[in-house]
């Protein structure tokens, strides 16, 4: 498989196939991320398409210092933000999954997590669980969703995520914690199925 920089080189030479290949690599992730900023799939699609156009127009200036994926996400976020909102990294309300109600007055579990069977991980990582996980991601509030998509779905480092989103690493982890704990709860019914 050709690397991004090879594809960029071909793209500079006017190779439309190289563009299609890069788009196949990143477009869907970009639409997902944009959807955590703008209302509706159409607006998210538009933000992602605008980002590609930005790449094409800036091709000669793109220095390859940052990986292409990070660059695309950065432009996308700035487009999606200016399209909609100024509010930054606001923290969601406490997550009931780990809220005070789950613990007794001494701080022990009042309602401990029900154990997941030994094969739960295997089942949740199988292709059949994909729809369930994507639906759970879509249900996350925007703030945690942005962080979970970048950190856990795209595998960026925590420091890269906080830089891209313009929030502190501590806030980034708070949002990540909210997102992951909500996802855990959303997957619990499927995971507990023995």
């Amino acid at each position: 498989m050709a690397g991004d920089s090879e594809l960029l080189g071909r793209l500079r030479g006017g190779d439309e196939e190289a563009f299609a290949e890069l788009a196949g690599r990143y477009h869907a992730s970009m639409v997902d991320l944009a959807a955590a900023y703008v209302p509706g799939r159409a607006a998210a699609e538009e933000a992602a398409q605008g980002t590609w156009l930005g790449l094409l127009r800036g091709l000669d200036g793109f220095d390859g210092q940052a990986p292409l994926k990070t660059w695309l996400f950065r432009i996308l976020i700035s487009r999606a933000r200016s399209a909609r909102e100024r509010e930054r990294g606001s923290l969601p309300a406490a997550d009931p999954a780990v809220g005070p109600g789950r613990f007794d007055c001494r701080g022990g579990w009042a309602c401990p997590p029900r154990p997941w069977p030994g094969d739960a991980g295997e089942r949740l990582r199988a292709p059949g669980a994909r729809q369930l996980i994507r639906a759970a991601l879509d249900e996350l509030p925007a703030g945690p969703r942005r962080v979970v998509l970048l950190r856990d779905a795209e595998g960026l480092a925590g420091s890269e995520v906080s830089e891209l989103l313009g929030i502190s690493e501590a806030s980034q982890r708070v949002l990540l914690h909210h997102g992951r704990t909500r996802l855990r709860r959303a997957l619990a019914a499927e995971a507990e199925r023995a």
């Binding site: 590609w52 094409l56 990582r125 994909r130 994507r134 779905a153």
Partner: protein, 83 residues
């Protein structure tokens, strides 16, 4: 099941689990967290479930591009070439 002896109760351990998994806890807190989990099966199970959740999300990549999306992107490219 609280474990005041280790200095961390379950509620605190549950709060710290992401910082633990992100390797962002200072050494002393990390040691306390691990000491608590060594003696608390509920918190150990909670950490296991979060690890499974994280790995499941990593595997559930976005959809393949639809042919509609592909042709829209091809149109973006051609507009740029001609403009």
């Amino acid at each position: 099941m609280a474990w005041p002896r280790t200095g961390i109760v379950c509620r605190k351990a549950a709060d710290l689990v992401t910082e633990y998994l992100e390797d962002a806890l200072p050494p002393r807190d990390r040691a306390r967290f691990e000491a608590h989990l060594a003696g608390c099966r509920h918190c150990a199970e909670y950490r296991r479930q979060l690890r499974i959740t994280i790995s499941a999300v990593a595997r559930a990549g976005p959809e393949e591009l639809s042919s509609a999306a592909r042709s829209e992107l091809a149109a973006v490219y051609r507009r740029w070439r001609s403009g």
